[in-house]
């Protein structure tokens, strides 16, 4: 899959929010769940089934990686972005920025 090209389909909102959550810092599952809800002002509330389904796909595609938190009091797996994941997220941000710029040009009220 060619990163940043038109062959990369647009990311769904939950996947984008998960990647954005991990872009800030590595997180474990519950932390991602809460962060996504907070980022979207409660609009996107992931169930654990949806979250781990997405995490599984992102792991398979090597966009994120899993590691064991060292400072946690109990064994807890955390997730972080891989370089490939960061590049895809960056490409998506560029795409969205382009769309936003286009929208502001075309959809904003024109002066008479």
């Amino acid at each position: 899959m060619k990163i940043g090209s038109s062959s990369t389909p647009p990311l769904s909102e939950p996947v984008l929010l998960i990647l954005l959550s991990l872009a800030e810092q590595p997180r474990h599952g519950y932390s991602i769940l809460k962060d996504v809800e907070e980022m979207s002002d409660g609009r996107v509330v992931l169930s654990t089934g949806t979250l781990y389904g997405a995490l599984g796909r992102l792991l398979d595609d090597r966009w994120i990686e899993r590691f064991e938190e060292q400072d946690a009091s109990r064994d807890r797996q955390a997730y972080r972005l891989t370089p490939k994941g960061k590049a895809i997220l960056q490409a998506e941000v560029v795409r969205l920025r382009h769309l936003t710029r286009l929208a502001s040009l075309r959809a904003s009220p024109k002066e008479a």
């Binding site: 899959m1 389909p9 599952g29 519950y30 654990t48 089934g49 979250l51 781990y52 997405a54 797996q77």
Partner: protein, 344 residues
């Protein structure tokens, strides 16, 4: 129990998926569940519905992903037609048709189970408001039916609109009015011209007579005065309240056997539900009718749906059991059906 159910449903996922994520998912579910409970019962209910339906869908997706059989290039999203939106996913494969079919059946089965569980919860008061909540609004204005049974209401509390009887139940938006033909209340029969008797379903909230009078202004006496209506509605109360002062005095209680015998139209020595003011009813309904009214329930001591000769003779003692404040007389509050909270 929910966590156990969650762990059970995790078995729907492929083994490889389970070995990687199941423990972690259960831990996250436990944390999220505790958080949802702390926000209230409604949030917790919504959380459970979302979680379990999400889990079922996730299992279907995981199974479909495992069986990836129809690889298709990432660019083949199908032709885009005018005005037809193109749907994108992150998946680079299409699930097998049989997997979709099985997933549909699984989703339907799960939806049915969740619906049945919700119905069970509603009927068993699992999702009910905790005691004391909304006390000012609910408790002061509504009586609440705890079980299927009969309830009486004055004819003045009902109005007719386009031929459909509308029963004014209260100011709460959820129970502002119920169409008797369509709603949770089914019109059973008229007890008399003044008081109607309805068969009600559990957990239905009805406007208390006192609240109705408060809502519609001061009592106008007749027929809006519920007390007067109530005492005239039942032949038994009419007979017992000889002086028409809307209470049954000590003397009237002592004279009960004599007046009750006057209601025995066929002179068989016992009073049936019909002779006590009810219409002809099947046996079970007859017993329910006699249990509904406190006076009839007290008189029919063996609850067989009839007031026998010996029960008629024992009427004074039976009526005195209704005298909760031990003042020797029976007033409206002591004679109203017990439907939950006391009526002001």
């Amino acid at each position: 129990m929910l966590i156990r159910l969650y762990r059970l449903l995790l078995r729907l996922f492929p083994a490889s998926y389970r070995s990687t994520f199941s423990q972690e998912m259960a831990n996250v579910f436990q944390l999220a569940l505790a958080d949802a409970w702390s926000r209230g019962v409604l949030r917790a209910t919504a959380f459970c519905i979302r979680e379990f339906s999400g889990l079922a869908l996730g299992a279907v997706r995981a199974q479909a992903r495992r069986s990836q059989v129809q690889e298709q290039p990432a660019t083949s999203f199908g032709p885009a037609f005018d005005a037809v939106p193109t749907f994108y996913t992150c998946e680079d494969y299409a699930p097998r048709r049989s997997a979709l079919f099985q997933g549909g059946i699984l989703s339907l089965a799960f939806f049915g189970a969740v619906t049945a569980a919700f119905e069970y919860g509603v009927n068993h008061r699992i999702f009910r408001m905790p005691p004391g909540a909304a006390r000012d609004t609910a408790q002061s204005q509504f009586i609440e039916t705890g079980e299927t049974g009969f309830v009486a209401f004055g004819k003045s509390m009902a109005s007719s609109s386009d031929g459909a009887l509308m029963l004014v139940l209260g100011t709460h938006p959820a129970v502002a009015a119920i169409d008797v033909k369509l709603g949770a209340v089914s019109l059973r029969h008229a007890w008399s011209n003044l008081v109607w008797v309805l068969r009600v379903h559990p957990n239905l909230r009805l406007l208390a007579p006192g609240a109705f009078q408060r809502q519609t202004g001061p009592s106008t006496g007749n027929p809006g005065d519920f007390e007067a209506v109530y005492f005239r509605a039942s032949p038994v109360l009419v007979a017992l309240d000889a002086d028409r002062d809307q209470l049954i005095s000590a003397g009237e209680i002592a004279n009960a056997p004599v007046v009750l015998k006057s209601l025995d139209k066929n002179h068989d020595g016992k009073l049936t539900a019909e002779e006590c003011g009810g219409p002809a009813l099947p046996y079970d309904d007859s017993r329910a009718f006699m249990r509904f009214h406190p006076v009839l329930a007290a008189l029919d001591a063996d609850h067989d749906g009839e007031i026998s000769a010996s029960e008629t003779e024992n009427a004074p003692a039976a009526l005195r059991t209704l005298d909760r404040n031990h003042d020797g007389k029976l007033t409206l509050n002591e004679l109203l059906p017990k439907l939950g909270i006391p009526v002001q």
